[in-house]
């Protein structure tokens, strides 16, 4: 979280995160190129670059797409989510290297524009096995470029979280295009089943993870409590772990009810940064901390601590006979609401 824009707000975690990714990239490229050169002495430098970067980019994209659902299923994956945008930008540069070298290698040495050649050198658009698969990769790269170019918080702030998040959900389109690119491209010519099996396994894993988490979220959205203008009973106080929250569903959005310092407060479950699930975060140093990128809010008024200016809606809560009750009518963002005191009741 920041009060001003800087290219990257480096901290220790981000440096470690990026260092690990960079080491992995270097290691992967080194091993892939060495093994390929050993197995196939005739492989040219261009071929080695194209193949190593292509396989690395699709591997990285699979990992990126797994982080979101894994973090929802198991909180120990949350650290991977923290700097996922850097992961995505690095993946874009790897994919761009693959694309640029492929265009130079296969389309730049003719007498027509290389980009035009990409669309016209193979015109079997009516054949599945001979389809010009490069076209899928080209459009996927355009999407990945748009995402990398707008990944900074500057764009997030100016586009708004909803539009920004919608734009970045285009990664699913890019992923679909890349699956087409691979299965209609290299898999048509590859005689070894290794790549096919690996790709199929990765694809099924990603689909399964997203369907499981999507179904779970869908069920939560479907379990809406009735009555939107009066206090509603939620759960016994003891059902809420200390410094954690219970998320309930009222009307169009979710509410996170936090227990901390023998108090209960309720705020909107939606973080102002990237619409992260505040209710899956915890109270750190007296502030509700978003599990995605660490944005913080005070539980009693939904305001970020100074100098930050983010605010979320707050709600009235009370405790009756050890049960938490909530009034689902939202107060304007940043409105101070007194917490319910657990110690006074018990």
């Amino acid at each position: 979280m920041s009060a001003s824009y800087r290219p990257v707000l480096w901290n220790r975690q981000k440096k470690i995160y990026d260092l690990v990714i960079t080491l992995f990239v270097v290691l992967y490229l080194g091993v892939f190129i060495s093994v390929t050169k050993f197995v196939n002495e005739d492989a040219t430098e261009e071929t080695l670059i194209i193949r190593s970067t292509g396989t690395l980019a699709i591997l990285m994209l699979h990992v990126i797409l797994m982080i979101g659902p894994l973090a929802r299923l198991n909180k120990s994956f949350l650290p991977l989510l923290y700097n996922r945008r850097h992961f995505g930008v690095i993946m874009f540069f790897i994919a761009a290297t693959h694309g640029v070298f492929s265009i130079i290698q296969f389309h730049a040495l003719g007498n027509i524009n290389p980009i035009l050649s990409l669309f016209l050198s193979n015109t079997h658009y009516n054949s599945l096995s001979k389809f010009p698969f490069e076209v899928f990769g080209f459009f996927a790269l355009i999407i990945l470029f748009l995402m990398a170019a707008t990944s900074h918080d500057f764009w997030l702030h100016n586009l708004g979280p909803r539009i920004w998040k919608s734009l970045h959900m285009m990664v699913y389109v890019a992923y679909t295009l890349l699956i087409f690119h691979i299965v209609l491209g290299v898999i048509q010519y590859e005689t070894s089943p290794v790549l096919t099996v690996l790709l199929g396994t990765g694809m099924i894993t990603i689909i399964t993870l997203h369907i499981i988490t999507g179904k779970r979220e869908h069920e939560i959205d479907g379990s809406e409590l009735e009555g939107v203008h009066q206090f509603q009973k939620v759960c016994p106080v003891d059902f809420i772990p200390n410094n954690r929250a219970r998320v309930v569903n009222f009307g169009s959005e979710r509410i996170a009810i936090f227990r901390y310092d023998n108090k209960i407060s309720a705020i909107s479950n939606v973080c102002k940064h990237q619409n992260g699930p505040l209710g899956e975060g915890k109270v750190v140093d007296g502030c509700i901390t978003c599990p995605w990128h660490g944005y913080q809010y005070l539980p009693n008024n939904g305001c970020s601590p100074p100098p930050f200016q983010e605010r979320v809606a707050t709600y009235d809560v009370k405790i009756v006979d050890g049960e938490v009750w909530i009034n689902p009518v939202a107060y304007p963002e940043g409105t101070e609401r007194p917490p319910a005191m657990i110690s006074m009741i018990e």
Partner: protein, 131 residues
Amino acid sequence: MIRPLRKYHFAIWRFLAVLLPLVFIAAILVRPPGQSAHKYGNDTFSATLESKTDSTSVVTINVLRPVKTPSCVAILSTPSRESVLGTLNQPGVYTFVVPKVEQGATLNLRDAVRQRSIVSIPLTEMTNNLK
């Protein structure tokens, strides 16, 4: 995520859960059958030589994989002469009508930029040669 995006997200993945496996399976089913062909590195070529008329023959070159080099030139060599047939720049079937080819002809594929031979394939008339 807010509720509308959660709904879109779930709908997208339900759709992709059907689409992606279907495309994946379809792509595997339409894969060209394995061919007994001459291999050079990652490129695969096959070729045939047939008589067309009393004075002409047909050389058919089948490029099964994308050619690694952007400057792959096909040259037909016989004991009496060498003829440049053309360039092979992408997968496909290339057909060249040439003067009657006598026994002992060889199809040479050369990398014109690097000035080196990619592969030499001995041709025998009316056979599916190229091992």
